[in-house]
Symmetry: C2
Subunit: 437 residues, 2 copies
């Protein structure tokens, strides 16, 4: 496949949403997209937010035809470290059938497949595209809730993920949720000399260690917060039968480890897709420089996140975690817990009517039936769109696990772009056919 | 007491040994001191080191008189944060009988007392003064070992500490030792996305937590390293009877805490002076910035130090700690332990002949007998001087606990300088008298 010229243009815009210096570039990417959609006959609206605009576009072809809401994002991750890129991140380059650029897979390239597939599509199309996905979508959910009527659709279609392996069309029917906390412990009122006060001074680093040991059992890998697993929905055997073979040895090689630690009694795939986790994501306190400093710090802290699965709720889990932390925090420390971020888990019927149609389209294009997968990560907007719009969601990932998302040399395999466009077009045809309605 | 002009000069030299930009100032302080000692009739030698010079000086008045080796240091801590000083750190200022300046108490002011007391002293005097105490004395111990004969003395006299309270002359007969380690844990070969890999990825922050919980018992405050307490010498009841009353409530107020956590079954003073401790002094890993980042870091680390008491040995304890860390480090992590720093504990007979003489001198000057105290901190050179020179050590602290060492507004109470000089002079007289020999 020859790369369409406009995609190269789109990828060349450095729309890094986290970087205040790139604010105009992010806007430019949104405007570029608006123009393209207008050229395709869409009525568009760029909704300003305090940060980056949300683009809404719709093209209603037939009031009897089904309506599809396509979600995507036009912002990208920062490209650092630049020196590790083989070609510059915003100079899209094709090598051996792969398109290299920041955003090639996440998510400009995948979003572009939907622009191509929109040409002449026999369904009503609505596009909801944000420029803040990489900063946690702070303004999208309020927009969705406020525009529920306008966004109404028969289904939501999203390509912002990956196939499980090359040549393996994949339908993702589950995502984990997220509950992200910041935990701080304060001991004495000021940093202390460890010689003068060691033996009577509270040490918040030591206390964080005790907390961590009480949060997760070292032997079983189980999270020890009371009630944490209560709402976890077990995975039916028939669902597990859908899952691909796990490649444990390949995973160990990829991570460079000899063991894959995790919750006792569950397979690697179940631990990744259908079991909740707890992981500290950062820790700090005291002296971090070269050599030694004999300090007992006044304060230490950590970032702590939990991946959630149905039917766990981020707010409820945050409450359980906070109550437990307060209960087990040793005496003599002031504990502060801040809730930073949350996202609901998502699970849908892999055999809903639109999923069945998409499976058929994928099989026709790829010559093999799709694999059904969950993902371990979180896209908070997915569960929200499903809930607020009461519509089924189809997650069609066109990326691959080795696409280097959020890393140097991000790429998209062009064959997946080509086949993705074909599959989406075929999906729209099936959907528009009387039997598809 | 009027502050001697030369002391103001000495304190005005910003001899910050940690600051490469101050290297010439440190040297200048050493040269200043050399000149003063020459003016007092000392033969001097400035011994160059790769960092800051060591000053050795001697004045032998009578081969039959006892010989005293005085140790001190002419370097000072950095003055930051400057904005918290009421008067500039290197513009010595007297307010209400206190001399404010960086180094006023630690250790230029106390060292200056020995210069004043040296005038006409009837004993042979040797001065060993370094410019690297605040950077861990990297070159002093090799110098002492290489110059054992030259440094030979009947006793070692050091003023680099504090009285336990105002108007309370104090003889310090014990110091804790130090064993300082850096511990790093590596999990996967690279940082991982906590969604994509949470559930199978090793998390070195979590593993550090488990390690910390295995190092110190949360309930009893006991260090759990096997053999750690084996060589700890119990404190005889008659020694405890010497100790001052602990001011637990005042200590709690000073630290801003409601409890003084520590090893179960020991008094506050025993925990501070005569029991070993373990404290993490720093910890790092993963994301430490604002907001959330969903990373499972490849690596995390901590600084970990233990204060030691007789007869624990820093090298031996480092070995015990490292062996235990290797034993309890969870599978799937690469553990690295580096030994950063060590110092032997020091304990001497509070009633040795020179201590008895100094006690008499202190009582004559202050009008009350001295208090006998240990200190929780470490001065590595003290145990070394005692061992290498086989000489008794007298630690006469002229500072006070509220002198703000290593902090803004460091000061020295002038009455302690004045009385200190008088006491040292009287000590020399007693020492030189036939009954003192």
């Amino acid at each position: 496949m020859k790369v369409p010229e406009p995609l190269l243009e789109f990828l060349a815009i450095p729309s890094v949403s986290t970087d205040p210096a790139r604010k105009e570039d992010v806007r430019r990417a949104g405007l570029w997209l608006e123009e393209r959609l207008q050229a395709l006959g869409f009525r568009t609206e760029l909704q300003e937010t305090p940060l980056h605009p949300i683009l809404y576009a719709e093209r209603l072809v037939d009031e009897k035809a089904p309506t599809v809401l396509v979600y995507g994002h036009y912002d990208v991750q920062p490209p650092d470290p630049l020196e590790l890129w083989d070609t510059p991140p915003f100079s899209p380059t094709v090598r051996e059938g792969r398109l290299y650029a920041r955003g090639a897979s996440d998510d400009k390239g995948q979003l572009f497949a939907h622009l191509l597939a929109a040409e002449g599509a026999p369904v009503n199309l609505k596009f909801l595209v944000e420029g803040e996905e990489e900063v946690g979508s702070p303004h999208l959910l309020p927009f969705v809730r406020a525009n529920r009527e306008r966004l109404r659709a028969d289904l939501v279609l999203i390509s912002d993920g990956a196939m499980v392996a090359p040549h393996t069309p994949t339908l993702t029917y589950g995502l984990r949720g997220l509950c992200y906390l910041e935990v701080r412990l304060q001991g004495a009122r000021r940093d202390l000399h460890s010689g003068a006060f060691g033996g009577v001074a509270p040490n918040p680093i030591q206390a964080l260690g005790w907390l961590l040991a009480r949060l997760k059992d070292e032997r079983t890998g189980r999270v020890l917060i009371p009630g944490f697993y209560e709402k976890v929905r077990p995975v039916p055997e028939e669902e597990k039968a859908l899952w691909p073979e796990p490649h444990e040895e390949a995973l160990k090689r990829e991570l460079g480890v000899e063991v894959l630690p995790g919750e006792e009694g569950y397979s690697v795939l179940e631990r990744l897709w259908a079991r909740p986790t707890l992981d500290p994501n950062g820790v700090w306190g005291g002296y971090q420089g070269e050599g030694s400093k004999t300090v007992i710090p006044a304060e230490a802290g950590m970032k702590l996140s939990m991946r959630l699965v149905p039917d766990q709720d981020p707010e409820e889990v945050a409450g359980l975690a906070e109550a437990y932390l307060r209960e087990v925090s040793p005496p003599g420390y002031r504990l502060e817990v801040r809730r930073l971020h949350g996202g609901k888990p998502f699970l849908t019927d892999p055999f809903s009517p639109p999923m069945r149609l998409m499976a058929r389209a994928l099989e026709e294009v790829w010559g093999r039936p799709p694999v059904y997968a969950r993902e371990g990560g979180t896209i908070p907007v997915v569960a929200e769109l499903k809930e607020v719009l009461s519509a089924p969601v189809v997650l069609l990932g066109l990326g691959l696990p080795d696409d280097n998302l959020h890393a140097p040399n991000e790429k998209l395999d062009l064959i997946n772009l080509e086949r993705g466009v074909a599959a989406i077009r075929r999906f729209y045809e099936l959907l528009a056919a009387p039997s598809g309605r």
